[in-house]
Subunit: 307 residues, 2 copies
Amino acid sequence: MSLLVIGTVAYDAIETPFGKTDKIVGGAATFISLAASYFYKNIYLVSVVGDDFSMPFLELLKSKGINLSGLQIKKGQKSFFWKGRYHNDLNSRDTLETQLNVLEDFDPIVPADCLDPSFVMLGNLMPSLQMKVLDQLKGKPALTVMDTMNFWMDTAMNDLKKVLSRVDVLTINDSEARQLSGEYSLVKASRKILDMGPRYLVIKKGEHGALLFNRDEVFFAPALPLEEVFDPTGAGDSFAGGFIGYLAKTNDISFENMKRAVVYGSALASFTVEKFGTERILDLSQSELENRIQSFIDLVQFDISLV
Amino acid sequence: MSLLVIGTVAYDAIETPFGKTDKIVGGAATFISLAASYFYKNIYLVSVVGDDFSMPFLELLKSKGINLSGLQIKKGQKSFFWKGRYHNDLNSRDTLETQLNVLEDFDPIVPADCLDPSFVMLGNLMPSLQMKVLDQLKGKPALTVMDTMNFWMDTAMNDLKKVLSRVDVLTINDSEARQLSGEYSLVKASRKILDMGPRYLVIKKGEHGALLFNRDEVFFAPALPLEEVFDPTGAGDSFAGGFIGYLAKTNDISFENMKRAVVYGSALASFTVEKFGTERILDLSQSELENRIQSFIDLVQFDISLV
């Protein structure tokens, strides 16, 4: 059994109302793999960086059980770089600079010993690259999860829908669900999106929690009301990583277990936003994680007996 | 034991993306009393209407156990009228017309047999009028709940804070909580608002659910994901009515029971938005209500055992 993760490994420079960073490590696959590593150890990361990338950070990923044989390191090239500024409400942001660099001609290659993974997490990336990964796989994974974003809906909708038709779970945010379906009601949106292929849909609503849909059921997990959201970067990816990491660990893709996975994903996201970049999820203790899960239980627990 | 409700009884004309109405019955106290009447019968409504108001509707309220001896009917005057248009997302609206009419010189008078109520619901109204009601009371109610809105924060903040210092529970929406406290984080906002007097704070987030805070605890109740939100008018008032009606019925103001009350309030609100005005909550059956509560339980129920 293995978990295959594809997505960016990158540098970010972030400005929030609380401060700013120089180049720090970011990227969808980084957050996904780190979050998943709290639950599952046989993780293969497929991505690309330049030789400007921090080797100590790659060593750290390896120490977490993340196999980097599918991470291409391009000599003389620079890593993908994103610079952004969050607005005061932290719900919206401006992109100040994007340097594709090594991403420009990225050709993902899945390592030979991970061509039949049990779990696949397609992190947010150009849909044609997500497809390239699926095309290399030999067997049918137990579960394939796809994350994407509005940018690809605007620029590569056809490719996006092709990938979507081949995955089991889609994770997007509420405005993206509305854009993809053309429906304002999330209940109606979920039905239209499930018609496009996936059996499950997770709608991430940031500070308002997350919804999990299948054809017949819906589950809602709140976001933890936090004292301070410091930096939202990577929250959605950390959610996805916690979600699929928990599913891989338990090897159970029932709706009941997916509900638990949504709660674990929400917990990982709630840590990520407390500090810049990956800082908060580099070294969580088991008791920190359990206390956080208990907070989620306490937050929504109520006892009504209908006679 | 009795439940005293103050607020508007009014006419609304509403436009939504789904249709428009001529004058229909609305008003905070109308929604509050109707919602509360599903749980509790000894309700006193204090308000004012003109003699243009529908007498059959007043008879209907009486038939629900709502005492109207505190409802002033002004001969030759017209009832408060509000006309509004909701935007496509139903989260924002424009006021097209406001006729204060009888509200202009409303002097609320609490009936002699309700001067010592156990529960008091101050519906959204000019804070000085809410205060006039509190000033007439003889005993100390078990629980006083105050609803208000941004308009009063803009125009009568001093009066609003005086009322706030005398109530047990405040119900407002998230942007109002931020305005009142000057804090973006709802956790920080709750602390500042609890410093202003109330022991409990309910933050209503519309389609994103509701948060209940006291000094040490927080509870989150989701909103039910609905196929279609038809008309949001009265949702917050229906929430407040279900909330205080359930508390009055059970006569238990512990945090645990307040959590249940938030769920019942959310259920009543989820019915109200399904049709125009009060239509959907005029005649709910017990089984409709119980099925809705069960939907709330199913929506958030998950089972994680931390060892």
